[in-house]
């Protein structure tokens, strides 16, 4: 076979395959790509499969690549929607090629978990104690300040080892956002972000890495998403909230944190609900957002996305609790619905049938 023949064959093959893949399916299946937050991934996969069962012509793919990655890909328009447990910054919004809206779809919580032998009751922590532990100022479990939070608990005199996330993550961002709010010293020395410079401790990769290190190493304390602590049957700390109550994280207290802050939530729904007021509000809670362009570029995809999100924040909420997420409070469902109604194609609302 001549070289030329071979070349032209390869060329032809390449042409054929690109034309196949780039061809828009006019009336066939609707394919939607989403990516972002790993916090929401288990729920999103459930939603995608349930929604796919009801709408056989729709295929939604969601990739859990991290909130930052989701934001990046939305900005580059490589996906149709992103999910993030962080709100986009003003600078990020400004540099995007179109107006992006945030739609809260579910609530998540970050919890303190620890490995301390001989302690059966859940330990209690006040905000400054947590800050001092993660600043490295509290180094033993029988420190006076931990004792003050836990009267009568026989805390052992052993060194305390901090475990934190080593990979950039929304979980770290929520946790450090909380610490920055409650502790001026934390705010000044460390600040908040997806990969802060931790003053002390061991870094574990991912929720599973932190869970593994806390579970395997005695006398450790770390923070993970609620689901990881519950599923691994690890102890979960009670945290003193703004009202002065020690609150256990569960779907009620996390939803409460959102409900209590609903009046202060701005119009664009970008809100931090850490350190929320309210008697039974769990203080390290956060919305998870779907982020997408207000003006959609494809009518069918836009319409499907609108329908999918409407379903998610209404019917879809019932899948939250079994997966250890917390449903949106009624007031936020209303506001999120109003936000979804703003999504358009060619300036026409996509909400109407």
């Amino acid at each position: 076979m001549s070289f030329n023949k071979l070349l032209s064959l390869i060329f032809l093959g390449a042409l054929l395959s690109t034309s196949c893949f780039s061809g828009r399916q006019g009336s066939g299946a609707i394919k939607i790509q989403g990516a972002g937050s790993s916090l929401i991934n288990p729920l999103m996969q459930k939603w995608v499969s349930e929604y796919g069962n009801m709408n056989s012509n729709v295929r939604i793919d969601y990739q859990s690549i991290g909130s930052g990655g989701g934001i990046k890909q939305v900005k580059e328009r490589t996906i149709q929607f992103g999910a993030s447990d962080l709100v986009m910054s003003d600078a990020d919004l400004k540099s995007a090629p179109g107006e992006i809206i945030h739609v809260p779809v579910i609530l998540g919580a970050v919890v303190l978990t620890y490995n301390l032998e001989g302690i059966d009751q859940p330990l209690r922590f006040s905000p400054l104690v947590i800050s001092d532990i993660f600043l490295g100022k509290i180094t033993t479990w029988d420190d006076e300040r931990i004792k003050a939070d836990n009267p009568g608990v026989p805390l052992p005199s052993v060194p305390l080892t901090v475990v934190h996330r080593s990979d950039g993550s929304g979980t770290s961002a929520i946790f450090t956002n909380y610490l920055s709010k409650v502790s001026p010293e934390w705010k000044e020395k460390v600040g908040e972000g997806t990969s802060p410079s931790w003053p002390v401790g061991l870094g574990g990769k991912g929720n599973e890495g932190v869970t593994g290190q806390v579970k395997q190493t005695p006398n450790t304390i770390g923070y993970v998403e609620l689901a990881y602590a519950v599923k691994n049957k690890m102890p979960v700390g009670l945290i003193k909230n703004k009202a002065g109550n020690y609150v256990v994280p569960n779907f009620e207290t996390v939803t409460n944190a959102a409900a209590e802050t609903i009046d202060e939530t701005p119009d664009d729904l970008r809100a931090s609900i850490t350190d929320a007021a309210g008697q039974s509000a769990y203080p390290i809670s956060s919305y998870v957002y779907v982020i997408l362009y207000k003006e959609q570029t494809d009518e069918r995809i836009g319409r499907t996305l609108v329908d999918f999100m409407k379903w998610g924040i209404n019917d879809g909420q019932r899948f939250a609790q079994p997966l250890y997420y917390s449903p949106l409070p009624a007031g936020m469902v209303k506001r999120a619905s109003a936000k979804i109604a703003l999504i358009t194609f060619n300036g026409q609302s996509l909400s109407a049938n």
Binding site: S166, G193, S197, Q213
Partner: protein, 318 residues
Amino acid sequence: MSQPDNKTEEARSKGVLTADTIYRALLLGCASLIIVIVLAMLVVIGQGSLLSIREFGFHFLIGSVWDPVKGEFGALPFIYGTVVSSVIAVLIATPLSIGVAVFLVEQAPRSLARPIGFLVELLAAIPSVVYGLWAIFVLAPLLRVYVQPPLQAALGWTPFFKGTATGIGMFTGGLILAIMITPIITAVVRDILEAVPVTQREAALALGATKWETTKIVLANASSGIAGAVILGLGRAIGETMAVTMIIGNRPQISVSLFEPGYTIASVIANEFTEATGDLYLSALVEMGLILFVVTFVVTAVAKLLILSVGRKTRRTA
């Protein structure tokens, strides 16, 4: 026998010629592809890190603060961690691998060498994330309870084994790397030893050499190949990401104590790249990649030089 036709002869030689040229061109293409890939990578990485190089300059290499929140980036703790964990790995893995390979080739009966050789190859195929998880759940607790306390009791007076023994840190990171590169070094060394002609062994034995003396001669003849195998392992150790990340503690600090947590270049890239927002942050991480390139190059070169000089000495004495 009749003379072959002149014309067909000519045609054939012509055909052979073109075939030869194509063959040569193909091979050259394959070889230059490697160079092109490396250059393309260097260009892209260089471009990506320009912003960070301009901002921090040389300070990036000697800075030891890594604080994405405040926008301060220094690479020194990561360079330290990468080099130290890899050196620990090679120091442990090299004698172990040579031992296993010598056993497989020189000592073990066929019935034993086959299955063990197969297992070694199997170990090389295990994904590194599996090694990492195994390290967290099995190796680290084991080290914390049974290895680190006696080590600390015996050698605690040296600066190398100070601090709380948590089972996680530079020591465990180096050890898991050693476990991961052992199969590679072993497999290569075994193949090299097998390539040493049997006649050499027979000659040595005929001269009255013991089994050990024979092995020594075989090893000396295979030394340059063994060195290559070790460098191969070293290269893998430097670039290894997942398993180390899960076990090294991910703390950007320079501590002489091996029980303290450390951090490697590959780990910080894997950890932070997906969530890196901001151009300078991203650029700093890309520059880390550039440094990993340089570190790999320097360490491999130093290792090669070291082995070369040792090789010369042994050849002179032999």
